[in-house]
Amino acid sequence: MTATIQARGLSKSFGATRALAGIDLTIPAGRIVGLIGPNGAGKTTAMKAILGLTPYQGELKVLGLDPHRQRQQLMRDVSFIADTAILPRWIRVSELIDFTAQVHPRFSPERCRALLAGTKIDPKMKVKAMSKGMVVQMHLALVMAIDARLLVLDEPTLGLDILHRKAFYENLLNDYFDQDRTILVTTHQVEEIEHILSDVVFIRDGRIVLDTAMDALPDRYTEVLVGPDRREAALALQPLHERSLFGKSAMLFDGVDRLRLAELGEVRTPGLADLFVATMKERDQ
């Protein structure tokens, strides 16, 4: 079975800066993958390589195609929303739907109109008359009406308030995602997407530092709330990260038996945000 995305030693340099330093990544179909990393970690470059928008070194296949050379063919099966891919301001909703229907063999104008029916967006409206939230709704309706196999979202909810952000991901999950589609998403709002992700990839300085299924997280990572009296004992087990919380220490462990940690204090599975901070801090040292 061909993976949706398959990368081997994917690299890209801008002058002396290594944006991607040899990435190996395999994403099968039917996953929702979060690509998470600090600013300048190479997320957008990786997305652009996957979408065939930028040349790269190394091996990369998206839906079995070379994204750079077979870009047009790829764009029939791939959709993307990026904060740098803005809907033209002059266009009307009806024109946008007409145009997409003409050029995209897998776009359903009926479905797009049905998706817009639940919003305040009118077919005669121009994009420049829309609020930021409406523009994102419009773009999402357009993309959701395309029967694509891979959807790439690069900071799709940038600049939206929390209500719109929640609605965005809810629509995506309820009305779009199924076992044949793959969604690759980057965002800084880690907490808001962690419940919809099936996999998570942390990227830093152009390298992948964590690539795991969300299901596997509890087996591997444990956070323990340790009182001051047991802090020394806990430190001996070499936590990834320690932060203080209400006079106690919240310590994050990688690959330490949870039963053993439970003796030290209250245990829980860490949130993605905590894990992210811990992973990034660890590399700093």
């Binding site: 891919a85 050029v103 359903s108 029967d147 196999r149 044949d180």
Partner: protein, 348 residues
């Protein structure tokens, strides 16, 4: 959309639609459908320049013609006295015979031709600025990646802009000019009928109108062949410039020509020739719009070039000239560069 799709569909990497998916009508996404959609897209974005401005020009000219008829009528009544226009015309008609009548009709043809000059000037500026911003605005407003998220190639996109500049825009201008012709003749006919004259024999000659329209229409593809390198240069500048595309598109060739002239003077100690000016700057600057706005024709024409329609001979001359042929080769290279830039440059 898709409910309980079999999992084996996921392993299928070809472009077959998923079962249960509602896709667009047949034929959508073919090269022809895509190109048509791209042309419509250009029209939607530039409707104001390509069509509305032409209609306004026609409308304003018609109002001016109507006003001048009214002014003439007022002068006649108040200053000249109530001369019977019909009998004057009858008198004139009895004097004008044979060849003179043919001359009169030719004069009407020239009149109709020159009537469209203002529309042509509007067309010139619209196309000039259209080309300069065609591949620049989409980068400036950051919509380029949205367009690139759809399955239309960079070649199709750049060619759609080229076709809009050299074919769509002039044809629309010609349509507005035809409306202007009909409107003018209608106004003159109304004036004539008001004075009890029959406008049909002199004014309404289908052959005359058709001749002016066909000749203007024929200039469009001929001018296109000649103008392609100039338009391609403007598009390349539009796709190249990080800012101020006008400077790249127009001022750069002018500066280059000035430099070439100065170097020629310096090295050969003689007055500079006009080759660069004529074949580079002149060619670029006279590419937008229609044929009658080519400065090189102004030199050749014995009279005011706006007064005379383009002749079939001039069209043929343009078609077979070596300059047109070489220009086409240059145009292909410039367009390839513009397409390459849109495809591979990543400055978002």
């Amino acid at each position: 959309m898709t409910t309980s799709t079999p999992t084996h569909a996921a392993s299928n990497t070809t472009a077959t639609p998923m079962p249960g998916a509602s896709t667009g009508a047949a034929g959508h996404g073919t090269p022809l459908a895509t190109f048509t959609a791209l042309l419509r897209r250009e029209f939607w974005e530039n409707r104001g320049g390509l069509w509305t401005s032409q209609l306004w020009t026609t409308g304003i000219l018609l109002v001016l013609i109507a006003l001048s008829l009214l002014i003439g009528e007022t002068f006649r009544v108040n200053l000249v006295g109530d001369v019977d226009v019909a009998s004057l015309a009858d008198l004139a008609g009895s004097q004008v015979q044979g060849t003179q009548l043919a001359e009169l009709r030719r004069g009407l043809g020239i009149g109709l031709w020159s009537l469209g000059v203002l529309n042509q000037i509007v067309l010139y500026f619209v196309v000039l600025f259209y080309c300069i911003s065609a591949l620049y605005d989409e980068r400036k407003d950051r919509s380029i990646l949205f367009w690139k998220s759809l399955p239309a190639t960079d070649t199709q996109t750049v060619l759609s802009k080229l076709v809009t500049a050299v074919l769509v825009a002039p044809v629309l201008a010609l349509a507005a000019i035809a409306i202007l012709h009909l409107g003018t003749l209608l106004l003159l006919s109304l004036y004539a009928s008001f004075h009890g004259l029959n406008p049909w024999p002199v004014l309404w000659q289908p052959g005359l109108l058709l001749d002016v329209w066909l000749r203007t229409l024929a200039t469009i593809p001929v001018h296109m062949l000649w103008a392609l390198p100039g338009i391609a240069w403007l598009l390349l500048a539009s796709s190249w410039a990080k800012r101020a595309p006008f400077v790249w598109a127009v001022l750069l060739p002018i500066l280059a020509a000035v430099l070439a002239s100065m170097l020629e003077t310096l090295i050969r100690l003689r007055l500079p020739g006009s080759w660069v000016w004529e074949h580079v700057v002149g060619r670029i600057v006279s590419s937008p719009g229609m044929m009658s706005l080519q400065p090189w024709r102004w030199q050749q024409a014995s009279d005011n070039p706006f007064m005379e329609p383009v002749t079939w001979g001039q069209l043929r001359q343009t078609l077979v000239s070596i300059e047109t042929g070489i220009g086409l080769l240059v145009a292909v290279a410039l367009l390839a560069a513009a397409i390459w830039l849109r495809r591979y440059r990543d400055d978002s």
